[in-house]
């Protein structure tokens, strides 16, 4: 999946506050429909929370890639 091109990347590793989830919401709000956003996160909770929120907010989870000590979570803005 490392071949999936993101239009924006948020490096939220080591971010306790606001944290990866909140950063994702911020960037989704200010992106165009169709853009793919990659969130780099070392927070375990985000693995669960981001997909839940993406589903509730009706965007698309492209995938979660586990890298060296962190995750790369790819989300597409749908509306």
């Amino acid at each position: 999946m490392s071949d999936v091109q993101a239009t924006k990347e948020i490096d939220a590793r080591g971010s306790f506050c606001p944290g990866p989830m909140m950063e994702l919401i911020r960037v989704v709000r200010s992106s165009d429909v169709g853009e793919v956003i990659a969130v780099l996160s070392s927070d375990q909770g985000s693995r669960r929370d981001i997909p839940t929120w993406v589903e509730k907010a009706k965007h698309e989870l492209i995938g979660i890639e586990t890298l060296d000590g962190y995750d790369r979570i790819l989300v597409k803005k749908l509306h």
């Binding site: 606001p18 944290g19 989830m21 909140m22 911020r26 709000r29 839940t52 929120w53 509730k56």
Partner: protein, 380 residues
Amino acid sequence: MAQRVVIVGSGSGGTMVANRLVRAIPEDVRSGKVEVVLIGAESTHVYQPGFLYIALGQAQPEGFKRPETDMLLPGVQWVPEAATKIDPTKKSVQVASGRTIEYDFLVLATGSVPDLDAIPGFREGGHSFYTLEESLRLRDALQSFDHGKLLLIIGVPHKCPVAPLEFLFMYDDWLRRTGKRDQIELEYTYPISRLHSLQPVSDWIDQLFPERNIKFQTFFNVETVDPVKKVVYTLEGEEDNYDLLVGIPPHVGAQVIRDSKLGDRDGWIPTDRLTLKVKGYDNMYAIGDATDLPLSKAGSTTHYESEVVVKNLVHELQGEKPVVLYDGKIYCFIEAGLDQATHISFDYNHPPEPSNPTATVHWFKLAFNEMYWLSLRGLF
């Protein structure tokens, strides 16, 4: 030839950087070898954390204001004008009068502001305590609010991530003391799956909310407000009603950053998390709320960042490398009622651990509200 450091924005961060810099190299400033120029749109310095106390009727605005010139150490050249354009190619800043000021090094400390129009209907239907004007409006609304539901909504991003909690805890305490708590329902909402982005804070309030009878909802991002029906609609497809709506609207960066194409669409400046340099510009730093760093937008963040930037500026002015790194350090007080508070500190590698609220920490926060004016002058 003299070297000039220009700082844009005279809030917490800009004022601290200017004062700390003249303190760090007094001889160079006195002799004219280094010029420290501070450009600021506001001639009155306002201590924003005071808005919380103003909204709750616990303090008057006058106590939180000082003339900016009283805050500046001799040696700081004060330009009381808004910057209208920053040109990194010409290394210059244009101000409202049309004058152009050139720089060798630039520090951007232009802060963030709540966008009252980001959520359609909020301006008409809601209240806030994130600007002086709004906190006065909310104070009046709270004074005549005697029954019904207060709904608190939180937009992303926002500064001071603990202020919404402090507001609820202090208001709850006041209602209980005045015997009015039974007539007023308090409901807190939060954008993500837990009650606060900081897990330990979330765990702490998870326990406290039932004790204080504060209801809550998570994954709650308000998209629109219907001020007539008094209903909010979220982008997750939920709706909720209110009698009094208190909100922290999503924030944006300064207009000049957008106009100068130095930030993203919302005006956040791409900043290196360790060096605090603006990405792509070797002679430009950004601090405080203005950066795009995934950090709490708080005065304490700005404070610690200003220390790093000043040390690096001193290195660079002397032809050395800027080797001092920011470790993500942040410290926050959290009011838990009218006479008790807790505090947290954390950095990139260490999560926070709130302790039980005490009266001592509350008094310390009140003392800090006064000490702030000394910290602006670079005394600690």
